[in-house]
């Protein structure tokens, strides 16, 4: 019987496969594949520019051309489904010449100053020009020129480098559902424009920076704060303090040639200490603190009948998204500041006191996987210390560049510890960097606080993983607590629309703006794609498992902080320093 069933199954599989002749070689591929995917399955990675996994195929750049027998013209493999018996040539003279001609056309409307570009050596256009052996550009002529748009606190747009592949537009629309940008004008004068032709800084852009990962060239990059941080380091009057986010330690090794998914906490600390920071603190510390504050807030709402579901507030991209598109859920969002801002507020108050330095003489910098953090630290509400609590936010990429400028090879550094007392953290804080992590960390604390019992099993597998929306029901001593987790704002929109419509009822929701959570943030090393995200997530959970303390409320430094300085969780001082408020923003 089993054999028969197996045969049926393989027959069905047969039906769903088609036979192709790829470069004179017979192959079988799933009938639903595109020609591009079929070629990949056969080990041939057709060059592309406008194509990106996870986005609707576009077919605009005309680089992924192949020759298909019987077709009157060359075919863009990314938008062409396979057919039984298709005969495909991927490197005929005609194909090679056509790809090269279109690449040259793109280059003819692109600055050829790679040395001056943010994406030098990580540019797909540059790579293709090398791979295709372009030695001169035959088609010279007028180039489109636009002013660099520096209006956004997070994302810099240099449209002269834009090749109109539209990956940023599709990312913003399809992954994030923000629709901040679109094509404008037409023909040779086409360009990519935010709302109503205004600068990006005046648009609904939520600063997540996912468009930067989507961009194959240097048209999009972060607004840099490298110079300001150097100036602070070189200023003898200033005490310069750094914090590093949970997601940095699993990605900062990549620019130094370490394998994706390497945990390099100690080398990271050693490197940045050598860069000249006076103290290197850990955002994981304030992540633990966030769990105490947010956990307390949740328990209060749960037990005293507050507004539910409670929605997390660590992701500044998500916060701006909520302010634009879901202001009616504003009261559902936790008032907790993000860990970056909690750290800033503490450093310029608690720690300043401790070391006897005035807050005005402290420069607080952070390394974040996030471009929205650059915007978050500039928000008016983020001045609990009387000064801007966090002065500069560097992306992982900027931070790596600073190390390289100084000549520090992170991979060869010794392992060192964070500074005390804001450098001690738990496994709960470590998982903040991955989607589901904040929820998992919160549940570990909430369960034990509510029940007074020790959690039998610390790993909440239901909220882990790369599914867009994850759900779990946690039995808290007879009370079923319903939680949901989403990452990528398109997924968040799906989830929130259901919440808003009353189709689902949750107690607690985690939302992260970026796919995969912070490890997939807009400030992370390039490339950041699904594969890389998975490796970083794996590293995050490995780190959690390796730590002696895995629950935020067990962090001794946190306990001491409340005793010495903050008083009660959600107390008056905590409220002043660690909580914030939001405001409605225009939907367009």
């Amino acid at each position: 019987m089993a054999k028969v069933a197996g045969d049926i199954k393989s027959e069905q599989e047969q039906e769903n496969m088609v036979n192709l002749l790829l470069d004179e070689k017979e192959i079988q591929v799933p009938a639903s594949a595109t020609v591009l995917e079929a070629c990949k399955l056969a080990g041939i990675n057709i060059p592309t520019l406008c194509h990106m996994d996870g986005l609707t195929p576009y077919g605009g750049c005309r680089i992924c051309l192949v020759e298909i027998e019987g077709q009157p013209t060359l075919t863009a493999s990314c938008v062409t489904p396979v057919r039984e018996g298709m005969k495909i040539q991927t490197s005929s003279k005609k194909v090679r010449e056509a790809r090269k001609a279109n690449l040259e056309l793109l280059l003819s409307n692109h600055p050829l100053d790679c040395q001056l570009c943010d994406r030098n050596q990580s540019c797909e256009l540059q790579d293709l020009a090398y791979e295709f052996g372009v030695r001169k550009i035959r088609f010279q002529g007028e180039q489109q020129h636009h002013e660099v748009d520096l209006s956004s606190p997070s994302v810099k747009r240099d449209l002269d480098r834009c090749i109109l592949c539209g990956r940023c537009i599709r990312t913003c629309a399809e992954i994030q559902s923000v629709f901040a940008i679109d094509f404008a004008n037409r023909g040779f004068e086409s360009y990519i424009s935010p709302s109503l032709g205004l600068p990006l800084g005046e648009s609904v852009c939520i600063n997540c920076g996912q468009c930067i990962h989507a961009c194959p060239t240097g048209a999009l990059s972060e607004v840099e704060h490298v110079e300001q941080v150097w100036d602070a380091i070189n200023d003898p009057e200033k005490t310069v303090i750094l914090q590093t986010a949970p997601a940095i330690r699993v990605s900062i090794g990549e620019p130094f040639g370490m394998p994706q998914g390497t945990i390099s906490t100690g080398k990271m600390v050693a490197s940045f200490r050598r860069l000249g920071f006076d103290y290197v603190f850990d955002t994981n510390f304030s992540a633990d603190l966030t769990i105490i504050e947010e956990g307390t807030e949740f328990i209060t709402r749960l037990t005293q009948g507050g507004k539910l579901p409670l929605i997390t507030s660590c992701s500044p991209g998500w916060i701006k998204f909520m302010e634009h598109f879901y202001p009616e859920l504003m009261e559902n969002v936790s008032t907790c500041k993000s860990p970056q801002q909690m750290m800033g507020a503490l450093v310029k108050t608690y720690f300043a006191q401790k070391i006897g330095v005035e807050a005005k003489d402290i420069v607080m910098a952070s390394i974040m996987p996030c471009t929205a953090k650059k915007y978050e630290c500039q928000r008016d509400e983020m001045k609990a210390s009387g000064y801007q609590d966090v002065d500069y936010t560097l992306t992982t990429r900027e931070a790596a560049r600073m190390l390289r400028e100084k000549g520090i090879n992170l991979a060869e550094m010794p392992e060192e510890e964070f500074d005390d007392p804001l450098g001690i953290s738990t496994g709960a804080a470590a998982v903040f960097g991955a989607t589901g992590g904040v929820m998992e960390a919160a549940l570990r604390t909430v369960y034990e606080k509510v029940t007074g019992e020790t959690l039998p099993k610390l790993d909440f597998m239901d909220v882990r993983g790369i599914d867009g929306v994850k759900e779990a029901i946690v039995d808290v001593k007879g009370t079923p607590v319903r939680v949901a987790v989403s990452h990528g704002l398109g997924n968040a929109r799906t989830l929130l629309d259901k919440v808003r419509a009353g189709d689902v009822a949750y107690h607690f929701i985690e939302i992260m703006a970026c796919p995969g959570g912070c490890i997939g943030g807009g400030g992370q090393p390039i490339p950041t794609n699904l594969d890389v995200r998975m490796k970083r997530i794996e590293a995050i959970y490995n780190l959690d498992r390796s730590l002696p303390v895995r629950k935020s409320h067990d962090n001794p430094a946190i306990q001491k902080l409340y005793e010495d300085f903050l008083g009660e969780p959600n107390g008056e001082k905590a409220h002043h320093l660690l909580h914030t408020h939001y405001s409605c923003r225009d939907k367009m």
Binding site: P57, R62, I63, T73, P81, L106, S108
Partner: protein
């Protein structure tokens, strides 16, 4: 009220600026002054085509046509003809006094004229649904409703009707695909975004016989199972928009559009959507994007519109001229249609004659007519007694014909054999006073302006082509420029996203081939024999 006579005044965007409004106004005044207002009715009508000069007057039941008519002629026509019954011989259009025959009225001097899609143009008041009904209007719809959907589709399939928008795809198949596509919500769309330079046939059909389009759309809707249709008309055609608006209104009032048409359970509503100045929207998927309120960029195909068209629903999109052929096919049968035109390309085609030809205008003739007949018999030859240099058929994206191709039969398949294309039926006649570089640059500038910018080869390729042609025109051509033009053109043709990008380099490629010497002379000798290009003319040394 019964009238003794009707006088039709041609009222189209063409004729209006040639004084048609003033002619009509004067006519009504003179008729009133002569006390004939209760006996003679003045009506507006659409174009007649067939090289009849504008504006014309048609007097029924006398079948007398005056063309062209000037305001100063009106007094005489009223007093002599309408009052005294003596037609003004000196004003009668040449060859315009045929006997009234069964079937189609043939006012043209050209024996070959055959009116199928223009069957009513110039003969009825396009604003009057009664006029349309009186000439068998909506009869085909009634007949279709008595047939099964499959029978309607089969009849159109059997007729061999090919899409008249330019691509020549079998209309019946398109309808069948849409009919067979899964889903309850389906649409029919009329493509009246006639942007191909030199083409104005659709405008004249819409202005002269708008009901024929509504009837055809209803028939298609019935066949495919749609109950809603959109007519996408370009913004440049305000008259057409008004004519169709009025037709929709009166057809709805008469119960020929709306719910339960002609006592059946078939319902159909038609709506107008306006273009806003984008040639690319003539491409069917761009047109759909535009109706959806987006930028008119072409969609990835497959899926094709019959599977997933307007708002993702199965959609049958047809060109105006194609649609106008459908009611007669339903009424007279597939065989009747197949007897017109060529065996592989049945039916008629409306050609528009433009450029350096004596008689500008349009004519409907059976497929298979030769360019010579069109140019010399209909068009009266090249202006100023010059020679034909080239005729661009089907507009810039179509084919290029040189004098040696004058006798090739004009049909979709035959022209393809001669490396040309029928396209929309536009004929841009260019005489030998024109420089080929200048003409080709004009075509390429058009595509540069109209490229949507989605794909690399069309967006940047067009720009580079125009830049090179421009420098050649200024006497700054470089040695390998012609080779670069060839590479760029070939690349656009081979790699552009949509049909329009692929067709854009057609005239460039053909003319580079046919007029190689003229191009080379521009590049190497900096000489423009036609003295069109403003390059410093190099004085040629006379050989003694």
């Amino acid at each position: 009220m019964l009238y003794r006579a009707h006088v039709l005044v041609e009222m189209t965007s063409n004729s209006i600026h040639l004084g048609a409004s003033q002619v009509k106004e004067r006519l009504e005044r003179e008729i009133a002054q002569a006390g004939l207002s209760s006996e003679i009715k003045v009506l507006e009508t659409g174009p007649l085509g067939g090289g009849v000069p504008s504006p014309f007057l048609m007097v029924y039941p006398d079948n007398v046509m005056y063309a062209p008519v000037h305001v100063s002629d009106i007094e005489e026509i009223v007093t002599e003809h309408l009052l005294k019954g003596r037609p003004v011989e000196r004003l009668i259009a040449a060859g315009a006094r045929p006997e009234r025959k069964e079937g189609y009225f043939q006012p043209s001097p050209l024996a070959k004229e055959k009116r199928v899609v223009l069957r009513n143009s110039g003969l009825i008041d396009p604003g009057s649904i009664e006029d349309y009904i009186a000439r068998d209007g909506y009869l085909a719809l009634g007949k279709a409703l008595s047939m099964t959907r499959q029978q309607v589709v089969d009849m159109i399939k059997d007729s061999g009707l090919l899409g008249r928008g330019g691509a020549g795809f079998p209309t019946g198949l398109k309808l069948e695909f849409t009919m067979k596509a899964a889903g309850d919500e389906k649409y029919v769309v009329c493509n009246a975004d006639e942007g191909e330079p030199g083409t104005f046939k659709d405008r004249l059909i819409l202005e002269g016989d708008p009901h024929s389009i509504l009837e055809a759309m209803a028939i298609c809707a019935y066949a495919v199972g749609a109950d809603e249709g959109y007519i996408y008309i370009r913004a440049e055609y305000p008259e057409s928009i008004r004519a169709v608006e009025k037709a929709i209104e009166s057809a709805t009032e008469s119960g020929l559009l709306g719910d339960g048409i002609l006592g059946s359970d078939f319902s159909f509503r038609a709506k107008i959507r306006q273009g806003a100045g984008a040639y690319i929207c003539g491409e069917e998927t761009s047109l759909l994007e535009s109706i959806e309120g987006k930028r008119g960029e072409p969609r990835v195909k497959p899926p094709y519109p019959p599977q997933a068209g307007l708002w993702g629903k199965p959609t049958a999109i047809n060109n105006v001229e194609t649609l106008a052929s459908i009611p007669p096919i339903i009424l007279h049968g597939a065989d009747w249609f197949k007897n017109i035109g060529t065996p592989t390309c049945p039916g008629t085609k409306v050609f528009t004659l433009t450029g350096n030809v004596n008689m500008l205008g349009l004519i409907e003739v059976p497929m298979g007519i030769t360019l010579r007949e069109l140019l010399y018999d209909v068009g009266g030859g090249i202006r100023g007694g010059r020679e034909m240099k080239v005729v661009q058929t089907g507009g810039p994206s179509g084919g290029t014909m040189t004098p040696d191709m004058l006798d090739v039969p004009m049909a979709f398949d035959t022209l393809t054999q001669f490396n040309s294309a029928l396209g929309s039926g536009a004929l841009i006649v260019i005489d030998d006073s024109h420089c080929i570089v200048d003409v080709v640059k004009n075509f390429c500038e058009f595509f540069l302006h109209e490229s949507c910018g989605k794909c690399t080869p069309c967006r940047i390729g067009n720009k580079r082509i125009v830049e090179i042609l421009d420098r050649i025109q200024r006497g700054k051509g470089q040695e390998n420029d012609l080779e670069l033009l060839r590479i760029l053109g070939e690349n656009m043709k081979e790699t552009s996203f949509c049909g329009l990008g692929q067709a854009a380099p057609n005239p460039l490629m053909k003319c580079l081939d046919y007029f190689r010497e003229e191009f080379e002379k521009h590049v190497t000798e900096h000489l423009c024999d036609c003295q069109v290009c403003e390059m410093k003319p190099k004085r040629k040394k006379l050989s003694v």
